[in-house]
């Protein structure tokens, strides 16, 4: 393809061929109908051109069958495309079970990334080819949007909430990363690269830089620093004042109002920042808020630590246990 005038984007994820197939099919339908209308208009213009100043058109023939036909045919096409498009969309949104979790925080005007092992990057993300990657997104300030055209994925990063996007790269290379939601002054410079490496190269790259602690380990350390264990871990001589966190993540929790909620990322986040909102049934509202005391990145670390305590035999074994 001519690099000066590209006409079709590079395809570098498992799902981009599916999006492309959908797009090409729709484009074909669009071109067909646009040409059909254009040709009919041109033909009628010539065939029925006005031949004298006082000429009038022929009498109207109503045609119910025509009206039904040209309502029903587009409807069938649109609904078929809807079904197809929705299937692709659900695939784009549901990460596979073996997806590895990465983290990203958007801020004016940069993307901050953290690998599971603790590596941090700004405006660049190195990933291994063939590995499904689940990226947890949030924002420190305004709304941003994580967009990698070569992967055909896009997801807004919202302040105060987590969203998620996943992809699996199919070929090594460097791909554009854009912020797609207008975010102020340097919006068009909130760009970067996704660098897809062979798994071996990725390992080398990881070994090359300062690894730092893994995300879970940082979370565990933070957990101790903030003295969370004083309430959330039972001491030998007294019961815990807060709900135990082992096995919590992903489970159903009964909250004070009697409702059941799933302890997911957003729930844990909310419970750290606004503990009273969805208090676990049977506990006193004694936990202080940690709003303003932990950054978005630290929150992500705490959550992955709590997730590591879920103990459902996942790949992430519990890190060092907090000392009581």
């Amino acid at each position: 393809m001519n690099p000066q005038l590209p006409l079709f984007p590079e395809s570098a994820s498992t799902l981009s061929p599916e999006v492309d197939a959908l797009f090409i099919a729709w484009s074909a339908v669009s071109v067909f109908f646009t040409l059909l209308i254009a040709c009919l208009i041109l033909y009628f213009m010539v065939r029925y051109r006005r031949r004298s100043v006082d000429e009038v058109g022929l009498e109207e023939k109503s045609a119910l069958w025509l009206e039904i036909a040209w309502s029903a045919i587009p409807l069938v096409i649109a609904l078929a495309m809807f079904v197809w498009g929705t299937r692709v969309f659900f695939k784009l949104y549901r990460p596979p079970a073996d997806a590895v979790e990465y983290y990203s925080v958007g801020k004016q005007w940069m993307w901050k990334f953290q690998h599971p092992d603790g590596h941090r990057e700004i405006n660049a993300l190195h990933i291994p080819v063939g590995q499904p990657i689940k990226l947890k997104l949030t924002s420190e300030d305004v709304i941003h949007s994580f967009y990698v055209p070569a992967f055909r994925v896009k997801q807004d990063a919202l302040p105060g909430r987590y969203t998620q996007v996943w992809f699996q790269a199919t070929k090594p290379g460097t791909y554009h990363l854009f912020c797609a939601e207008y975010c102020g002054g340097e919006h068009s410079r909130m760009i970067g690269s996704i660098i897809v490496l062979e798994p071996r190269q990725y390992e080398e790259w990881l070994a090359g830089g300062p690894a730092g602690k893994s995300v879970v380990a940082s979370g565990a350390e933070l957990f101790n620093q903030l003295a969370c264990q004083t309430c959330h871990v039972a001491a030998p001589n007294r019961p815990a004042r807060g709900p135990a966190l082992k096995g919590l993540f992903g489970s159903q929790v009964k909250i004070a109002s009697g409702e059941m909620v799933i302890a997911d990322d957003n729930y844990v986040r909310e419970s750290i920042l606004n503990p009273g909102t969805k208090l676990v049934a049977g506990y006193d509202p004694i936990m202080p808020t940690y709003q303003g005391q932990v950054s978005e990145e630290q929150l992500l670390q705490l959550i992955s630590y709590i997730k590591s305590l879920a103990g459902d035999g996942g790949t992430q074994a519990p890190a060092e246990a907090p000392k009581p």
Partner: protein
Amino acid sequence: MIDTHGSGAPAAHDDHHHPRLQHHFDSLEQQKESSTLGMWLFLVTEIMFFGGLFTVYVIYRYAYPKVFAASSHHLDVLWGGINTAVLICSSLTMALSIYAAQINKRKLIVVFLIATILLGATFLGIKTVEYMDKIKHHLVPGFGLHFAPDDPHLQGANGQHAQLFFSLYFIMTGLHALHMIIGIGVLSVLAVLAWKGRYDSSYYNPLECTGLYWHFVDIVWIFLFPLLYLLGAHAR
């Protein structure tokens, strides 16, 4: 269908000579139906205008039911209830002023209009008392004031959600009060015109339209009162 002419009103062909018939209408009936429909369409825009606020209220109430209930405990049900009754009375007097026009009692129109104005002013007075109380108890978010309720249920993070409640409380009741003030202004003009004998059973469109507006403002309050004041009152 509307019979605009009333029992003793002149027949349709006399409409052409009525001083209040505008040139582009054929009859007073057409003129009246147009203004009533126009006013109702305006009220539809008002429904959607307050509707945006009600939507925000419903979403946040759904998200933070307990904080919203705890916050509403800081509103005074007695004052709110009295104000509801005051507004209902004013709706009655408004309806009666139109009734007075229909039976050609011109003085009575003025009396009922003034009663409506006074009741409206009473409502605003009570609202002012309530607002002052909120300022005193540091329950006003924004405005450069310090939001600091002494209620332990509204401390910390709950206090942030409580700010959402009180922000909505002040925007909703504030816009409602603004509508009342505008209504009182219009009613005052109508009272003067009615005093000059402008309205009788053959022509009272402005009274009818202002009445529709006033009743609408009453309806907004009929919903605001339970939503803002009575939420979780049983847990008090």
